[in-house]
Amino acid sequence: MNKFIYRVLHLVLLYFLLSSTIACATETTSISKLPDPDTLHYQPDRFIPPLAQRVVIDNGIILYIFEDHELPIVNISAVIRTGSNYDPIRKEGLAELTATAMRTGGTNSMSATAVDEALDFFAGSISVSMNRDSGSFNLSVLKKDLDEGLNIFSQVLTNPAFEQNKIRLAKDLKIEEVRRVADDPQKLAFREFKKLLYDNTPAGRFPTIASIKNIQRDDLVQFYNMFYYPGNLMIAVTGDISKQEAINKIKEHFGSWNKANVHYDIPHIPTKSKGHIYFLSKNIPQSIIITAQFAPGKRDLDAYPFEVLDFIVGSGGFRSLIFREVRNNLGLAYSTGSFYTKKSEYGVFGAYAVVKSEATVKALSLIRSVIKDLRNSMIDKKEIERAIKSINNNFIFSFLSAKQIAYQQLMIEYEHLPRDYLAAYRDNIAQVSAKDVQRIAVKYLSADESVTLIVGNEETYKQMLTTFKNVLRVESKL
């Protein structure tokens, strides 16, 4: 009640303020007097990244808490150190199926149907997502439903029942999803590309119809036992809940969960690739071009100049080099640009374009020459300054919600990044020079290591052969 009264007073004050200022708000500007948008004056930005509170409870679970009482919603995310990189060979899909069946297969105290009924009735949601090197379970409930929601959430994580019929359903739905991958040319292209880049190592293996069929309930239980225990879990609690209440609730629902740590080997991801151009045939009126190679990871200081490089090459909007060449100047594509995805230990940098078939060779050559130029000549100092300004001004958008703030800090610890990673981020970007960018381009962007995949029609294949030697055909196996 108090907080509402506060708001009422606040608004009344504001109203008077407005009514007294409205009279002077009569000035309008005509076009001849418009100020130069580059010289507008702004109040200085004194943004300091807000910090979530970190607490460790007795059984080893690490909590990150950030309060935000504006809306009566509580969000809880549990992050587990696991991932589909841990899928056993010929059982690809196990990590994901385990998480799905935990959510949908009931708990030892509630049947699957009862879980679904309860959540749907109060419109609470528990969603799961499985990445290559982490898994997360997310609860979102209204404050009034927190106890009931949290009870189910904790049971899903600590006491899953893995009902047989829900495992069958999860498997069948996954099989249908795999059957449909090729319906979406872009999805197909990225899946096949990763297989080639990671070359049959864990990150390059995908669920197939056969691998899913191979997975049985025992596999799920075993996978669960290996990865789901308190020492392998971090939780972010955010929203309409106080710090103490958050600690108490997590202790109440997870405090008695005691399960020893399990040793498992972390899968090795190679960070070198053998460059080649591959071709996958699909009868579409465009070509999808993806070309990429390994780049520095987040813990490497080279990541900062690399981020600036990526911004200038193809992710910095309309002005970026690839966008300008391929889309703006020549109108060859609607979607084109670059990407730089970073894990803690390694990164991947690449470029993509969805181009008209007859321009496939041209677009690929353009992209390659943009990247080659980075090695051969230094980027204009002004462009570097622009990129730095853009990245650093945009930084505050990583702190939009309580959920984002706490989750982000949790992931910094998860990825073993320095504690001051966020606080130091802007300074690290600001220090990047044109020389640095060229240095890392030379260091990482070798044409012999770039893996290129073209998905396109047979005409395009013939066209490719006239320009590029050794285009290797690949087939997609689902």
């Binding site: 009422v8 303020l17 076009i31 930005d45 009126p285 703006n328």
Partner: protein, 501 residues
């Protein structure tokens, strides 16, 4: 120019001191209404503002009441191409010498129009003429390139940290949105007011090519795009909701710069526009900035052309698309648009049929019969301003067929007509809608999006806050009545994606 008296119309902000009583769950909806400041500038521009300080950022949404339905036949795709052109700069943004530029741009437009006129003749076109005009065009474009700087609007925004910067075109409306650090409100006003008044259509013809690629990517290469396009063209016979926003390909290749400029002048008027600003703002200061930049844009007469009405459907329509893809199915029924009461009833039906794992469709088709991979319903396709469709879309699970899925869907719909929905099912749906509403308030962009959307579509953003109150009134009898009235075979369109292999 000074406008005579800027009277901000503060529609509501004072009444609530008395109304303030703690009502469970409904409190939020009343509260939102009081947090929104609504103004109408002298030129008719509506500004909605809301203060929120968690993050030092602010989200802006500008919506114009114009979309693909406002295009003439033969000019489909214009509203969307115009949206792309709005990123090409203004008379003061992106130019090196506007006077010189203007001269060349006129020549480019003339040459382009002549070139299109010749190309339109198809096999009777004069090849020599096309060749010489094309050459001339290339030269002019080369000359023009010396006189402007590309993508300056994007640069200004990006350098200043912009997030979520984009625009989109719908059938009913066109939207420009961006979020900025909250100390940069003036930059947004400077750019947006300028492009709403003085846009310059640079690179028109190469952008037209980009959009042809966009169409190829979204439709020709994507079977889902083809299915959706044919589905709409089948469900609507007369009303312009039948057209693709991207435009029919043959229209697209001849879209005219002159027509696009006229289209802009006709519809991008302040009195046809709503702005929502949500975030770390001081409303008093913000409205002063908005008025300073947008206040002098002259109001225009809005004589929009009549929109062809759809006739009542008198028999089932079916369309098949053969493609290199697994089967997919769309079933749709015509129904009234918001704020008709029956539209609210469909919001409830949507929840009952397909919201969550305990919804009727999921339980029956996905879990029990195991014939579908997924099934969704959407109320209010493809637009919201004119009577629209209640859409069911499903993917059958191999080896089951779309026909089996269709039959089961029909059985579930029959149940709605013959059996009363239980109180628990109805309560569940209402809980879901209530919670959706609260969740929709979580982000600044989401809020700015909603406020501007409902204001432009229904003429009053309070549709959002009243929505739940009206939903509360929906009874099991309403659901049965609505099902019986609209979910009829003769009111149905069925579109099938069929694997041609």
């Amino acid at each position: 120019m000074m406008s005579k008296s800027f009277v901000g119309i503060l529609t509501h902000a004072i009444l609530f001191t008395l109304m303030f009583i703690s009502i469970p769950s409904a409190v939020i909806s009343y509260e939102l209404e009081k947090m929104v400041f609504s103004y109408t500038l002298n030129n008719g521009l509506i500004v909605l503002m809301m203060e929120r300080h968690l993050s030092p950022t602010v989200s802006f949404y500008i919506r114009h009441r114009v979309g693909a339905i406002d295009e003439e036949d033969g000019r489909t795709g214009t509203a969307h191409l115009l949206e792309h052109m709005m990123f090409k700069g203004t008379k003061t943004i992106g130019t090196k010498n506007y006077k010189k530029e203007d001269r060349i741009l006129r020549l480019i437009a003339k040459t382009g129009e002549n070139l299109d006129a010749e190309r339109m003749k198809g096999k009777y076109a004069d090849k020599n003429k096309i060749e010489s005009l094309t050459k001339q065009m290339t030269l002019l474009q080369k000359e023009h390139k010396k006189l402007f700087v590309e993508n300056e609007i994007d640069r200004l925004y990006t350098e200043n940290g912009a997030d979520h910067m984009n625009a989109n075109t719908g059938l009913d409306l066109t939207t420009y949105h961006v979020s900025l650090p909250s100390n940069r409100i003036e930059l947004w006003a400077r750019i947006e007011a300028d492009r709403m008044t003085n846009p310059v259509f640079r690179e028109f013809y190469s952008e037209r090519n980009v959009i042809m690629e966009e169409r190829k990517q979204r439709v020709d290469s994507d079977p889902r795009g083809q299915l959706y396009e044919q589905f709409l063209a089948t469900a609507y016979v007369a009303h312009p909701y039948r057209r693709p926003i991207l435009g029919w390909p043959s229209d697209l290749q001849f879209l005219s710069i002159v027509y696009t400029a006229d289209f802009f002048k006709k519809y991008y008027a302040p009195n046809n526009t709503v702005i929502a600003i949500v975030g770390d703002i001081d409303p008093a200061k913000t409205i002063r900035i908005v008025n300073k930049y947008f206040g002098s844009i002259p109001r225009r007469n809005l004589n929009s052309a009549p929109i062809t009405e759809e006739l009542p459907q008198k028999g089932e329509r079916r369309v098949n698309i053969l493609a290199d893809a697994n089967p997919k199915l769309i079933i749709a029924y015509h129904k009234p648009a918001m704020p008709d009461f029956d539209d609210y009833v469909f919001d409830v039906i949507e929840c009952i049929l397909s919201r969550g794992r305990t919804s009727r469709f999921y339980k029956s088709l996905v879990e029990e019969q195991a014939i579908a991979e997924s099934i969704q319903t959407t109320n209010g396709v493809p637009g919201a301003k004119y009577s629209n469709l209640f859409v069911i879309s499903a993917k059958p699970r191999y080896p089951h067929t779309s026909a089996e899925v269709e039959m089961s869907i029909n059985n579930e719909l029959e149940d709605l007509k013959s059996k009363t929905v239980s109180d628990r099912d109805l309560d569940k749906a209402k809980n879901q809608l209530r919670t959706d509403f609260i969740r929709s308030l979580e982000s600044n962009t989401g809020l700015a999006n909603m406020l501007s959307y409902f204001e432009i579509i229904t003429g009053d953003y309070r549709y959002i806050t009243n929505h739940i109150k009206i939903i509360e009134k929906v009874t099991p009898e309403d659901i049965m009545r609505v099902a019986k009235k609209y979910l009829l075979p003769e009111n149905r369109t069925v579109a099938n994606l069929i694997d041609k292999n």
